[in-house]
């Protein structure tokens, strides 16, 4: 799995000279209020938005690599399961797009369904899935592509605490098992504390602080004190 290095990332109206290093296999939580630029930073890493600066995976500059070739798994906040495909076909979508042999598709989909305990959902369409089920299917759809980097944009938002807790544990377990370099976006400090190897805090497009969970919690910079107090 690659390490990620962001150098002077700037986007129109949002990010300002963001520099961030994420270690190989690390789970880093991007923390910040709504509008801080967390999702934009994920879009930069995925190559889904215009930016200035440089993105490196290991030592390789990714600026000219299109999204579909960056090996990035991206779970959007609203999941965006394809409504016309059932769970099985949603998960198999990426494999079909990259012309994977049919027998391999079946094997891979079945094992990811088992990994996330969603085998019983495989014939259901997104309209018939609950919020938690949609997130599991979305996660399976991203993981099946064996990405080198996993980007999770507030994947637990609007879920009840029990379901959110269960999925959080699963994400943690999957991360440990697959050792994926992962960026997890949230505005929930407790969620960040539970998941993160390290936390990076974005405030109005600027990276204000980064460090281990306890460093952020016990020695927060001024802008982040308010944030922790609210949470």
């Amino acid at each position: 799995m690659p390490s990620i290095h962001l150098r002077n990332i700037t986007t129109p109206y949002c990010l300002k000279n963001v520099n961030l290093d994420i270690k190989n296999g690390e789970l880093i939580v991007l923390l910040g209020f709504t509008g801080a630029g967390k999702s934009t930073l994920l879009n930069v890493i995925a190559g889904l938005t215009e930016y200035r600066g440089e993105v490196f995976f290991n030592q390789k500059n990714m600026n000219n690599i299109p999204t579909e070739k960056r090996d990035v798994g991206y779970l959007f906040q609203d999941i965006y399961l394809f409504p016309h495909l059932n769970t099985y076909n949603n998960i198999a979508f990426g494999l079909r797009a990259t012309v994977c042999p049919a027998d391999q598709i079946t094997n891979k989909v079945e094992s990811i369904l088992d990994l996330l305990h969603i085998g019983h959902l495989k014939k259901r369409y997104p309209r018939d899935l609950s919020g938690g089920e949609k997130r599991r299917v979305g996660l399976a759809r991203s993981l099946i592509m064996e990405p080198k980097v996993l980007l999770l944009d507030e994947p637990l938002i609007n879920l009840d605490p029990v379901t959110a807790g269960n999925i959080r544990k699963e994400i943690k377990a999957i991360h440990s098992r697959l050792n994926l370099t992962t960026l997890f976006v949230t505005h929930d400090f407790d969620e960040a504390r539970e998941l993160a190897d390290r936390i990076a805090v974005l405030v109005k497009g600027e990276l204000k602080q980064q460090g281990m969970v306890d460093d952020i919690f016990y020695q927060p910079v001024m802008e982040i004190r308010k944030f922790i107090a609210i949470n």
């Binding site: 889904l48 579909e68 990035v72 965006y80 979508f93 797009a97 369409y125």
Partner: protein, 251 residues
Amino acid sequence: MKKRTILKNNFLYLLPICFFLALWELSGHIAQTPLFPPFSKVIIEFQFLLSNGILLQSLGASLARVLIGYILGSLAGLFVGILMGVHRVVEQSLSPLISILFPIPTLGWLPLLMLWIGINEALPITLIFICAFFPVAYNTVTGIKGVEEEYVKTARTLGASKWFTLRHVILPMALPNIFTGLRLEAGMVWRTVIAAEMFAIPTGIGALLTNAETLIRVDIILVCLMLLSMMCSIFERVFLWLEHKLTGAWR
């Protein structure tokens, strides 16, 4: 319970039609004039026209024109609609032209086309082509534009090429809109072909209507109108069925 509901719905659907036909039959017998024949006389004439082949011949001529014009117009509309939906430059170039041409009623083109094309088979086919083209193109663009950009981004992060995304994400998700265009025009093309045949072409259901009017044969006119209603309804229902078949599972 379900069977009873279906029976009840069918009964409610058929009741007004039966009442209308009974009233028509009764009024026809009371009126006693060839200008208002009873329903039974129209059915007898329907059977007669069917048995001597006139009705099938006329229907065949109209149907062939409708199918050729509709299929060509829809395919062209789909093609242009997809191009406009996918390429912003094409959309910006063609949108003003389509905005100018789309509001012109199809039959408004008839005098111009009679002069340009002449009175031959190409005339009704061209009219039907125009009738189908604009709504299908418009609805295809609308459908494609209605697909949220995040679905396309998601497909890209999953390794899908632009072509794969178009085929497997954008077009399937635009299908409901595309079908709306196809279904609405499926009935409209029949109205257009009948009008073209009444004015300009000596064969088909429209021509049969004009001949019947000349001979003051109201029963034949009513046969033609009933047939027209049936064809419009069949075409619309075929597309409704297709739409349900292709999108019903996920909508």
